[in-house]
Symmetry: C2
Subunit: 443 residues, 2 copies
């Protein structure tokens, strides 16, 4: 029998609460956002099929649920780097991303003093905040990678938890076996995961086992204490179509499945990260395999990019792959910008990347029958039939851009109910007139 | 037994030639482009599953084949309109489109004296040229739509054939039954086909049957004489997700199936046009139904757009739908630009629309196993592993754009083998160093 949360917290994590029959205020918020009964949310949080990443110290968070039966969520990567050190510009990107509808921000800062920016995010930003502690380790200690100890890495995970981070990407799935596999040279692109490559390099230089794999239990204790959701990183995700769904990738996935079960035993919430560069015809199989091997844990995909030859347009290659992935069970899409593979995204790239991801997520939600997903489309269709442009702007994903395109090339004469694409040849106008019994004037 | 074409032409159309066992020079060109035996091309042209649109009078044409077992082709819509009367700008768009890889140009001119521009295209442009004669009828005669006779429409089809047009969109599939169906008010967006709406209006105003349906046999004689491929227009394509795959759309498709067979009896080549706005989960079914009902005639899709709420980004919604459609059997994608639903596309929009369509076509070709489709991707992956940027530009769909993005935000320090996205955190750099036994310098 469920009890609604009152004052005293008698649980560590959302998963533990759900298993104890407690309905938390975060579950209630998620239920409202998703138009689902709260018992539905609670049940799947208990089973691990929905996560609600919400560090207890991120008090300004507007919680969101991630799971394949919920609306597909999107993440936007940002952060300070050597080549973009301006905190104000990064904060502008964050606020723009939240305004455009990103439910999560990953702070991938890799330069300077990272803690103040991270704390600013968890104190001011209502979106879920994620990090990749291994990036931060080198920066935090300001020491060469090879000199860091396993404990140093774990301490950074604790620091991020204390800073209020909601989810952390940990590349726990690679180990010394992976090094052997990569050294066989069967892969075209080896590893393309930034975090994975750092751990690979550290293992190569020190001869030690992956600390995130070896000390996984300690990490679980930290995550349990603060309710940090683990995003199990896919160090072996394919970096090109030729490497997709290979032994290396699936081998890591098998380990991620085991690590998922170990986390669940301690009531720690888990997502699993996925590919990567994948040909379209392999995407559905990838989603299905993740669901079986990782027991329905939410799948967080990085793309997938469906071709390697479109740098400058990888927001489009990722939108194709992301839409297919989400339709087939992925719950969470990491945005990809036009600058992917080429440069740090600027403010415009961030916006374009978010809109492309939102399109993919929304199209998938319609396809998989998420309740009310098509309502906005139906309103848009009604507005279009009426050629009511002010009404159309209300239902646009990005009304500013749409308005600007129409305004920049408005029709020359005064039939302002149409646009310059067709002018008096507008099909909607012709049919409306024909149905009203009016004559059609085209010339 | 096949005979290779020598000097004398003893056939009317490519289909007739193929059926007579003649291998034309157009089939040979297509075989070379596709890396397929010419007998393979001939066989499917004879069966109607491949079309080679090539009007005998379009002598500068570089022929291309369209069929689901060949590389997916793309079309770019252009033309003079009341709101864009500049012939030079339109010709610039044409040459840019061909340079970017569009295999077909549809001239949708709807203003002024259309014949010179059309003839310029068939005399100078190596891409397939398509038109929609019903648009031109009003313009050509400079008379109100309601005053045109059935013969007037057919005469415009003949004029376009004489002008060297390779394929014509004819909305033969709607008839007086369709008017009744639309008047029941079951559809949200009624008809959104420009040509379809003109015929609908003409039928409403005159009380007559659709001339393209009533005089289909005369049209077939014209098309047979010049080898004009008929693109059977889908007047009833859905204009919003809510109308997708409905009775109206599938009813028209059934008539298009009958019209396909009638054309084939006269050796006239046929493509079938398809939707439109379609939720992702209905696309594969649409492709399958077209194949069965229209006996494998190549499917030419307009999108499909997978959501209605992204004006300003419909090149992306169409790339998602087009990629899925092509993977499931569509052969030919009509490009969609960011200006769709809003304004006439400008030169930049045309480029963006073509690249987005090329991405969709290429991703689908890889997914359906078109021979050598992935070669370019594999070369790109090799160049990326080597961090060889000059080599990478060679394999980009749009090297200029990619180069410009990297150059605009180059890494600050001198490790120019990476880009500013990751700088010294570049995974490829780290792994290359680790595999070479080198120390990793991140700070």
């Amino acid at each position: 029998m469920s009890t609604t949360e009152t004052t005293s917290k008698t649980y560590h994590t959302q998963m533990e609460a759900a298993r104890l029959g407690i309905i938390t205020k975060e579950m209630q918020t998620v239920a409202e956002i998703e138009h689902r009964p709260v018992e539905f949310i609670q049940r799947y949080v208990a089973e691990g099929k929905i996560v609600i990443p919400c560090n207890k110290l991120h008090t300004c968070l507007k919680p969101n649920g991630i799971g394949s039966m919920l609306k597909t969520k999107i993440n936007c990567n940002l952060g300070i780097s050597r080549d973009c050190k301006d905190y104000d510009i990064e904060m502008q990107k964050v606020m723009s991303a939240v305004h455009l509808g990103a439910e999560a921000i990953m702070d991938l800062s890799s330069h300077g003093n990272t803690e103040p920016f991270r704390k600013k995010l968890t104190h001011e930003c209502p979106a879920m905040i994620g990090t990749v502690p291994v990036y931060d380790a080198v920066i935090h200690y300001q020491r060469d990678l090879s000199t860091l100890s396993a404990k140093d890495f774990i301490d950074v995970v604790r620091l991020h938890a204390e800073n209020g981070v909601d989810f952390v990407t940990l590349h726990c799935g690679i180990n010394r076996e992976t090094i052997k596999e990569i050294r066989t040279g069967k892969r075209k692109m080896n590893l393309v995961s930034r975090g994975g490559s750092l751990i690979f390099a550290w293992m190569s230089m020190t001869g030690n086992e992956n600390p995130f794999y070896e000390y996984y239990d300690e990490i679980l204790d930290i995550c349990r204490e603060y309710d940090v959701t683990i995003s199990l990183g896919d160090a072996c995700r394919p970096g090109c179509l030729a490497d997709a769904t290979d032994q290396c990738q699936i081998g890591e996935l098998l380990r991620l499945g085991e690590l998922t079960e170990r986390a669940w035993k301690k009531d720690v919430q888990v997502m699993v990260e996925g590919p990567g560069h994948v040909p379209m015809d392999q995407i559905a199989a990838n989603m299905k395999i993740e669901q079986t091997i990782c027991h329905g844990a939410p799948f967080y995909v990085l793309g997938p990019l469906v071709t390697d030859i479109a740098p400058g347009y990888d927001h489009i290659t990722a939108a194709i792959g992301g839409a297919i992935a989400a339709m087939n069970g992925a719950s969470f899409l990491c945005y990809v910008t036009p600058a992917e593979h080429l440069a740090l995204p600027n403010l415009e790239d961030v916006k374009t990347g978010i809109i492309a991801s939102k399109i993919a997520a929304h199209a998938a939600d319609i396809a998989k029958g998420i309740p009310d997903a098509r309502t906005q489309d139906d309103c848009m269709a009604d507005a279009r039939r009426k050629l009511d442009w002010d009404e159309q702007w209300k239902y646009c994903l990005d009304p500013e851009t749409a308005k600007a395109i129409r305004a920049s090339r408005a029709p020359e004469d005064d039939h302002s109910d149409t646009c310059s694409m067709c002018g008096k040849f507008c099909a909607v106008r012709s049919i409306n007139k024909a149905l009203a019994g009016e004559m059609i004037d085209i010339l």
